[in-house]
């Protein structure tokens, strides 16, 4: 199990939270998703054998939110 933190551009609409949390949590291997709205960050816990941080990042980007930086630990 790994934790990835994605820094996004400033989030302004609270509905973005649901959009991102909903989509990511439906992905295989994703255990936990939390959008830190005010910090404009997405925190995820995922199983690195089924899904990669890069794929999560791509999904977030496709939703319309460019990812500025990624931290995996």
């Amino acid at each position: 199990m790994k934790t990835a933190k994605f820094q996004l551009e400033t989030l302004t609409c609270p509905s973005c939270i649901k959009k991102i949390e909903g989509t990511l949590s439906k992905m295989d291997g994703v255990e936990n998703v939390k959008v830190l709205f005010h910090a404009s960050k997405v925190k995820t816990q995922f199983d690195e054998s089924t899904v990669q941080a890069e794929e999560l990042k791509e999904t977030i980007r496709k939703l319309g939110y460019p990812v500025l930086s990624t931290k995996v630990s």
């Binding site: 302004t12 609409c13 609270p14 509905s15 649901k18 830190l36 709205f37 005010h38 910090a39």
Partner: protein, 631 residues
């Protein structure tokens, strides 16, 4: 392609604004064709990013405000209301732009904190100095920090000394002196000096990283009001679509239906509560108080009873020399120096306190005791620089058959009544000095408790494991309502339970592990951070990073101000929705003016919350003199 459009949103907003101006001018010049085409182009330019966002959310099965606006604009174009469609799209985008700008300001406190995070570090590896990024510093690295740089990781000083600004961790920008073996924290700044340190905690484990993480999480944790509003918005937005469809079906008036769609947008209602919390929590974080979330703010503002632990909370928790009185014509520093050198033999905390005091006075202590022994529980006997010394309590003096003159004894008893421990020092078999040691009350305890009472605290109680005599002294000095001495951790819990049963809302402040059960029982648990111990930071609802009781008082008035601010926002937002709906029904509000009022209300709510980021307790006209009271 989507991304490109979103990145250009600001430019598109500007374009549509210019086109609107052109349309306005052509209206006066009666260029009808130009006016119409400018309006339609403006609608399309500003409408595309809104429609795209709506489409993207719809793909995720989320109803957003963008969707309401998109439907309204399409309908407006359909019935030929070009002025309205152009103004609505422009205002919506411009409003979003202003919202983002002002939201940024309410979040500024936490951003300023994260910007204090160090970026680079200089480490010494294999005798060479390397500049690396902070992430690359490993535990055990020897790190070099020069004056003007930030400390990159947590650790202790190996060599060197410096004056530090620890505001990033404690919220207090008073310079602090640190030397060998002292702990230093990531994010703090070396104002002056040079130090080499070992890295003990790196990356996400540093106190600074934990503070940021706690604050970020706190800003997300929702108060009950917020949770209710979130649920409400979930139902509300689709309901608005259904109701406006009904309005159209019943009245057959498409215009009225779309006005309804726009004015019913829940903007200010949804954002009102969270912005207040974010601004309030951010303000606290910058001043060295971690408030763990919106619900903590809510509960804390309702607290009416405070329970304090004594040692380390109301007092400093570190015994200090409060007075040294010499007799027979000896100089204070001369006696202290000799005694301190003798006490280097002793491991006893009172002996250590004397050594610390001598070091603080920068007395030269190069020599070591030539011959000495520790008389356990009583004191020491030693020969220092050829002078025979006897230092200890009254029992030791008696055991050695030394005569304590009456004036010395009277003085010592007086000091003991003030809560001190009196230590006698004899030179050449003659009692020449009394050293008083006490755990002092924090300098800011009196003004802080006074302020807390002013802001609505009705009852202040102290629970301590200490003896009754010392407890009574602290309680009287501070003017507490009640105190209970010789309390075990379980007694403290029982006492808090009883207060709660009597209908009080209780905040409990304490430091060590022995207070943890009481802190957990209270409605609000307050921990002294002492530069951040993991346990207290994680279990408490509120952490005072610099151990200042004034921070506690600030947090209390801040929580009240935050709740006030949130209520103002809620009343305002609900009021505006009613006014708008009423206006629509009376026919006095059009699409464009409805949008204007809607956006203005969202901005007002954010601006109101922004006041909290600058919130400061009323500056006192006069600082009370910092009198050190022995406990």
């Amino acid at each position: 392609m989507f991304q490109w459009v979103h990145q250009q949103t600001n430019r598109l907003t500007l374009f549509s604004g210019i086109l609107l101006a052109i349309a306005f001018v052509s209206y006066f010049l009666h260029y009808h064709a130009l006016q119409q085409s400018a309006l339609i182009t403006a609608t399309i330019i500003a409408g595309v990013p809104i429609a795209l966002k709506a489409y993207q959310s719809l793909c995720m099965k989320a109803f957003s405000i963008d969707l309401l606006v998109t439907i309204a604009v399409i309908a407006a174009l359909f019935i030929g209301e070009y002025v309205e469609s152009a103004v609505v799209t422009f205002l919506f985008l411009f409003g979003a732009y202003l919202e983002a700008r002002t939201l940024k300001k309410t979040r500024s406190s936490i951003r300023e904190l994260t910007e204090m995070a160090p970026q680079e570090a200089i480490v010494k590896r294999n005798g060479k100095e390397l500049t690396v990024s902070v992430e690359e510093v490993e535990e055990g690295d020897r790190v070099i920090i020069r004056s003007g740089s930030k400390i990159p990781v947590d650790g202790s000083i190996l060599t060197g000394a410096a004056t530090l600004n620890e505001a990033a961790v404690t919220g207090e920008s008073v310079p602090v002196k640190k030397k060998q073996n002292d702990n230093v924290f990531s994010g703090t700044m070396v104002d002056n000096g040079y130090i080499e340190m070992t890295a003990e905690k790196v990356g996400e484990d540093t106190t600074f990283a934990k503070i940021i993480e706690l604050v970020e999480e706190a800003q997300e944790s929702k108060s009950k009001t917020q949770q209710f509003l979130d649920k409400f918005a979930n139902v509300y937005t689709p309901a608005v679509v259904v109701i406006s469809a009904l309005v159209f079906l019943i009245t057959r008036d498409l215009h009225l239906a779309i006005i309804f769609l726009v004015v019913a947008c829940p903007g200010a209602l949804v954002i009102g509560a969270p912005v207040s919390n974010v601004a309030g929590i951010g303000n606290g974080a910058k001043k060295g108080v971690l408030v763990k979330g919106g619900d903590v703010m809510d509960r804390f503002s309702k607290v009416d009873t405070l329970v304090f632990d004594k040692t380390g909370t109301l007092t400093k928790g570190k015994p200090e020399v409060t007075d040294i009185k010499t007799f027979q014509g000896y100089g204070v520093n001369d006696v202290l120096r000799l005694v301190a050198i003798g006490e280097t033999l002793s491991e006893h905390h009172l002996g250590q306190t004397i050594v610390t005091e001598a070091k603080k006075r920068e007395l030269p202590m190069d020599s070591s005791p030539e011959d000495g022994e520790v008389i356990k529980g009583n004191g020491i006997r030693a020969i220092v620089e050829g002078t025979p010394l006897l230092v200890g309590n009254k029992a030791l003096m008696k055991a050695e058959h030394l005569n304590i003159p009456n004036n010395v004894l009277e003085y010592a008893i007086m000091q003991e009544k003030k809560g001190n421990t009196a230590i006698y020092a004899a030179i050449h078999g003659e009692v020449v000095a009394v050293i008083s040691i006490a755990d002092q009350i924090r300098e800011d305890a009196i003004p802080a408790l006074h302020e807390l009472r002013q802001h609505g605290i009705q009852k202040i109680v102290m629970l301590t494991g200490d003896n009754r005599h010392t407890a009574e002294l602290v309680a009287t000095t501070l003017g507490l309502d009640e105190f209970h001495a010789e309390q075990l951790p379980a007694d403290k819990v029982a006492f808090i339970n009883k207060l709660q049963k009597d209908g009080h809302i209780v905040a409990m402040a304490g430091d060590g592990i022995n207070d943890a059960p009481a802190i957990a029982t209270a409605d609000i648990g307050v921990a002294m951070g002492e530069g951040g111990t993991d346990v207290s930071m994680e279990t408490a609802d509120l952490v005072l990073m610099a151990d200042k009781l004034m921070q506690f008082s600030h947090a209390y008035s801040l929580s009240k101000a935050t709740m006030r601010n949130m209520k103002q926002n809620m009343y305002f937002a609900v009021g505006i929705v009613f006014v708008l709906l009423l206006g629509v029904l009376m026919g006095g509000i059009h699409l464009a003016s409805g949008m204007l009022i809607h956006e203005a209300s969202v901005l007002l709510v954010i601006l109101n919350a922004m006041r909290l980021t600058r919130y400061h307790r009323q500056p006192k006209t006069q600082e009370p003199p910092a009198v050190l009271q022995p406990a």
